[in-house]
Amino acid sequence: MNAIEFILAGMLAAATPFLLAALGELVVERAGVLNLGVEGLMALGAVLAFIVVYQGGGHFLGFVAAGLGSAALSLIFAFVTLGFRANQVAAGLAIGILGQGLSALFGKSYESLTVKALPRLAVPGLSDLPVVGGLFVQDIVVWISLVATLAIWAMFAYSKLGLVLRAVGENPKAAHAIGYSVITVRVLAIAFGGAMAGFAGAYAAVIYTPLWADGMIAGRGWIAIALVVFGTWLTGRIFLGACLFGAVSLMGLAAQATGLDVPSQLLSSLPYLVTIIVLGIISADRRLLKLNGVASLGEPFER
């Protein structure tokens, strides 16, 4: 298998934690809230899923536990920022630190243990294609994530729910004036984002690398937040961005396999460096950010 086939086959699975977390954050930001705690939410989801699966609860229950646990933590964020109008940046950082702390605390006795990953399902016919065949052999969660991406895209494009989310994010005062509860919409969005981050963490811990290690999220939550900016708040572009990061994080492995003499630390830094560079390129187009951005992002709502 050459490097390209290797990357194509593994890209979607590597992209899934980024994708799930970024889709969640997209919904949160569209409602006008900036939750910087994604890293901690993912870490908590990861450890909960790992514990459940390790204890024999199975992958489904593991994901349920991760979703519920991270949603609960994100509701603390909602309580602080919406109930007490706290600075969203500071509250997000606090949730991040708390989530990572809880993750380390719960995971202490599971350090370096492993669980079994899920089998992969192949699309008959397509999976036999040369070069791109690997793309069509994926585990069930990857397939579900692709469906979720489509569903979220359709929600924003067609549904009234998507319209309400955008309205609340653009002009919360007006949304309130025409009779929508800004707080309710935002709480639900935050809980959804929390659950998605939990799923993302669960996928990373029990399917992608089914081995527990403290700090295993390794900045993926932050990259997910950056992905929302890269995708200029558009579902399709966020999906492409997630695939890019999936590919970038495999490049290290691919390069080592080909025997390239590059320090491994440089390869580990690659996703971070790519984030910094892409962020610079996309953000420099101020008009684009303003056009697609969320007008009330990060501002507390006060009627």
Partner: protein, 370 residues
């Protein structure tokens, strides 16, 4: 129906003016709430809360030796937090102090690593200066990205911290590894002149703590008295007012990040040239992130930060104690830090708001119209 007007929940009502009492009480209240919550958590985990309270909050004060360790720990937290708070008040969210700290340590270590035989009293001051410059340079990448490319400084500074950690690993596993170090990822031990002189015999407290106090005073004058500090605050509170008055946003961002990077870099240098004495992987133990909490807990005020840095140092030292005596996982310190900041963010709301409980439904409303 008598409760038709929505809910039974109280509403937040803006105060006429900020409450000074709430400002002072908020951190105390947050500390109490975080303490209660965390002790309940330890109890759930089957640990003895009394033993933990003793180890965490009392033991650090029991002897001069352990209290000097608290001061030692407070030094870097205080220094970094002072720098960060200046930026936070200007709404420049530099959360990459961890990386700036690491770069400071690396820059400072370059002198003893490349000149291990050098002697003279110039070495440790040069290291501190080098470290501060290194931190500022690392922060300047974020400043450039933000000012020129309009990129979010939170994400860029954080990513740079992750890169800095990898850079440190690279140096310690590769070019800077101590050849006689049994393959441990650490540099050579620094020579005597590369160490900051100790302040009090028998402790590890050194001159850098004095520098930190002096810089805290400087931060106080800068933020509370100087016109430059005033301009930064206007930019943070009302960016359009700053534009209106002609205070340049770009300069504010550069200044904030350079000050933050300088302070964090200096702290990193003081750490390797002080208690540690060599470049190691574990130079930081999360100072850069903890300092964010210290800055907020101190109300972003230079004097408040002195107090909150001490509190945070007690938690660090106490956490180490509790790890030994009460078998408390060290991760508990992070949980405590996170809940402390959350508690503070709730408590601080009462500086500008007060709770108003819903009045009982208007009596007149239930009467039928006359």
């Amino acid at each position: 129906m008598s409760f038709a007007s929505g809910s039974l929940l109280p509403t937040m009502v803006r105060r006429e003016r900020a409450s000074l009492a709430a400002t002072v009480l908020a951190p105390v209240l947050a500390l109490l709430v975080a303490l209660i919550l965390n002790l309940s958590l330890y109890r759930l985990m089957g640990r003895d809360p009394v033993a933990i309270v003793y180890a965490m909050l009392l033991e650090p004060f029991m002897s001069w030796a352990s209290f000097s360790e608290v001061l030692l720990k407070a030094g870097p937290l205080l220094l970094i937090a002072q720098g960060l708070a200046i930026g936070f008040r200007a709404k420049v969210f530099n959360i990459g102090a961890e990386g700036q700290f690491i770069l400071g340590a690396i820059f400072a270590s370059a002198i003893p690593v490349y000149f291990p035989q050098a002697t003279g009293q110039w070495i440790w001051p040069a290291m501190l200066l080098f470290g501060a410059i290194g931190g500022a340079l690392w922060a300047s990448i974020t400043a450039f990205w933000r000012v020129r490319l309009n990129a979010n400084e939170i994400l860029v500074s954080l990513m740079l911290s992750l890169v800095a950690a990898q850079l440190l690993n690279y140096l310690l596993l590769g070019p800077w590894k101590d050849p006689n170090g049994f393959n441990f990822p650490q540099s050579v031990m620094f020579q005597y002149d590369a160490m900051v002189p100790t302040l009090i015999a028998g402790t590890r407290l050194n001159v850098s703590f004095l520098i930190t106090l002096v810089l805290s005073l400087a931060a106080f004058v800068f933020m509370q008295k100087s016109f430059s500090g005033y301009k930064l605050q206007v930019g943070g509170l009302a960016p359009r007012a700053a534009g209106y008055a002609g205070f340049k946003q770009g300069s504010a961002i550069w200044l904030s990040l350079l000050i933050g990077g300088f302070a964090a870099g200096l702290a990193g240098a003081a750490e390797v040239a002080g208690p540690i004495g060599q470049l190691q992987r574990s130079i930081s133990s999360g100072y850069g992130y903890a300092a964010i909490i210290v800055a907020y807990l101190g109300g972003l005020h230079p004097i408040g930060i002195v107090v909150s840095a001490l509190v945070m140092a007690v938690i660090y030292i106490g956490g180490d104690n509790a790890m030994v005596s009460a078998n408390l996982p060290i991760a508990a310190v992070r949980v405590f830090q996170g809940s402390l900041l959350l508690g503070y963010l709730i408590a601080i709301a009462f500086v500008r708001y007060r709770l108003e409980w819903p009045k009982t439904a208007p009596k007149a409303a239930d009467r039928s119209p006359s």
